[in-house]
């Protein structure tokens, strides 16, 4: 069983059950289906960050770099007025993102601890200003996606990305795939070594493992998943702009993952839903929602030692 904890199994069962049914109840309310889709996409992004920060031990404040790249690469690679195949281009984009993550990883992994936080922040800020100041990539306004890609596989076409419900299920699939991919990676020999090198780098190195290589591969996995989330987000809203890459974006994802319970992976889903849910409610409650949000974050840090997942586990595990 790749889901070791009871709490985890219960939460995921309830989550997927509800998630599968949401469009059935909200069929005619495309706003809420769209909102739910965005939360699912963010959950993919936050899970990929949770994997890096909580399990590999790479605290990055520049994860949004890859989120933005996923969107920008799509617009840059595809012709403006021709629908391309989604799956083919997703593979291209993920491959290029992985390559970029390799290069960035080689640079940033030379540092550690607080310097790693700062160098990842610096690189994503660089990318942010690169797109912000560029004329050919639309500057602050970003770029628009005029044609949504088609999604046929071997001539079979059962997904229409212009249909919010279809897009919703594509995003839910992304959540499932990301969850399984991370969980299986962590259960594997590779994952065990990665975790060992977080818990005790010296001993892991002494056992003959090249920590750098393991961290680099993990960094590439996490970053590529983030790029996929960014690609989906760009396709959902039909544009990409430098705001995808701000440090606030990275910071918010970090907040969601810490709130959910760092390193638990399923907690990332919980944290994303909670954060987005709170923000949505507060925005409707008052103009000064940021005050309520900030207060809620501060309260949760003070009260929950291991995030929401930790709290649930205290209730459900014996």
């Amino acid at each position: 069983m790749i889901f070791e904890k009871r709490t985890e199994r219960i939460f995921l069962a309830i989550f997927f059950l509800i998630a599968l049914c949401i469009p059935l109840f909200l069929e005619d309310n495309s706003f809420f289906v769209g909102k739910a889709t965005t939360i699912l996409i963010l959950a993919v992004f936050v899970m990929s960050l949770d994997f890096l920060v909580g399990r590999v031990g790479l605290v990055t404040l520049g994860h949004a770099l890859f989120y933005g790249l996923g969107g920008y690469l799509f617009v840059i690679l595809t012709p403006e007025y021709e629908a391309v195949n989604f799956w083919v281009y997703a593979v291209y984009i993920l491959a290029i993102s992985a390559l970029i993550a390799l290069v960035v990883g080689v640079v940033v992994l030379r540092t550690s601890g607080i310097y790693f936080i700062m160098i990842t922040l610096a690189i994503s800020q660089m990318a942010y200003y690169f797109f912000f100041d560029s004329l050919e990539f639309g500057g602050n306004d970003g770029l628009f996606i005029f044609m949504k890609p088609e999604t046929s596989i071997f001539g079979l076409n059962f997904l229409n990305l212009d249909n919010p419900t279809h897009f919703y299920y594509l995003s839910l699939l992304a959540v499932l795939v990301t969850l399984l991919a991370i969980k299986i990676t962590l259960r594997s020999r590779f994952g065990r070594i990665v975790e060992a090198s977080r818990l005790n780098p010296e001993r892991t190195e002494a056992l003959g493992y090249n920590i750098f290589a393991f961290r680099l591969i993990s960094y590439i996995i996490g970053s590529t998943l983030a790029a996929y989330a960014g690609l989906l987000f760009a396709l959902q809203y039909g544009y990409v702009n430098p705001q995808f890459m701000t440090w606030e974006m990275s910071g918010t994802a970090l907040v969601m993952s810490i709130l959910g319970g760092m390193g638990t992976i399923y907690g990332a889903i919980l944290g994303t839903i909670t954060y987005e849910g709170l923000q949505y409610s507060f925005e409707h409650l008052s103009e000064d929602w940021m005050l309520l949000m900030g207060g809620a974050i501060i309260l949760m840090v003070l009260l929950l030692r291991k995030g929401l997942a930790g709290y649930l586990e205290k209730l459900l595990e014996k």
Partner: protein, 287 residues
């Protein structure tokens, strides 16, 4: 570029660098002594600028407003440390990051509730108005020179306190071995409160000094925060000397970049920081 222009830009860069140092010094002090990365540090800079603007609009006196704002900032620092930060000393660093992000939300929101989202400006005090001639056809505003001098004075005071006084001795001791300092009978809790409050006040004082030179706008804290990160990382986290050198480098480099290659100017300090970290992964003055 004429020599004259180079000279003017150099002075501009140094003046900007000195201001950056003042902001960054608080950040690096708190990190060095307490091991806390205060992401809300930029918000304290913003608080300083807004407070001084608010008091000037009531009293009309810049000096009085500046003093009042600095004292309020000191009190705010003590309050935040006592009520919030103190509860997280035994917790994960990421919890501290989360807490200070929550504080950014709260301060940004309070700013918008109390003072709205319009940009404001503070007039340069009359006695410091005008400018001194540089060469035949250029001059430099007196207030900027005054601001630079204040920054230098505070830097010198900080150096004196840290290296020559009993408090400074305790701060340095607390940096290298917290348990030992505690075992020797020093109340490390109140030491931390003092250090954090000084950090907050340094950020607020920077905001006060910057107020007549820059526009006071929402979000001013975050942009300065990221620049400060660059400064302290280049210098070496926790090192005040490093922050000084880092701030001057960043100040001069970004000022020249804005003139020489405007399209790259925003990126250049990050490129510089990455280069520094590639050569020295712990910054220039690593401990």
């Amino acid at each position: 570029m004429s020599t004259e222009l180079i000279f003017v830009q150099l002075v501009n860069g140094i003046q900007y660098g000195l201001l950056l140092f003042l902001i960054a010094s608080g950040l690096t002090l708190v990190f060095g002594v307490m091991g806390i990365l205060n992401l809300a540090h930029g918000s304290m800079y913003m608080v300083g600028a807004y407070l001084v603007w608010y008091f000037v609009s009531i009293t009309g006196s810049f000096t009085l407003s500046a003093l009042l704002s600095a004292v309020i900032a000191l009190g705010l620092g003590i309050l935040i440390e006592r009520v919030l930060i103190q509860r997280l000393y035994n917790r994960n660093h990421l919890d501290q990051v989360l807490l200070t992000i929550g504080m950014i939300f709260v301060f940004n929101s309070l700013q918008s509730i109390l003072w709205g989202n319009d940009p404001y400006g503070v007039a340069v005090p009359d006695t410091l108005g005008g400018s001194v001639p540089f060469t035949d056809n250029s001059s430099y505003p007196i207030y900027r020179i005054f601001a630079a001098l204040i920054c230098i004075a505070i830097a010198a005071a900080l150096y004196f306190v840290v290296s020559k006084t009993r408090l400074g001795m305790l701060i340095r001791a607390g940096e290298s071995n917290r348990e030992m300092v505690e075992a020797l009978g020093v109340n490390i809790k109140s030491l931390y409160t003092i250090v954090f409050a000084i950090g907050v006040m340094l950020a607020a004082v920077s905001g006060i000094i910057a107020a007549p030179m820059r526009s006071i706008v929402p979000g001013m804290g975050e942009s300065v925060l990221i620049t400060c990160f660059v400064v302290v990382v280049i210098g070496g986290m926790g090192s005040i000397k490093g922050a000084f050198v880092g701030a001057l480098l960043v100040g001069v480099i970004s000022t020249f970049a804005a003139v020489l290659m405007p399209s790259m100017s925003n990126m250049i300090i990050y490129i510089f920081m990455i280069l520094v970290l590639l050569v020295k992964p712990q910054g220039l003055f690593a401990k």
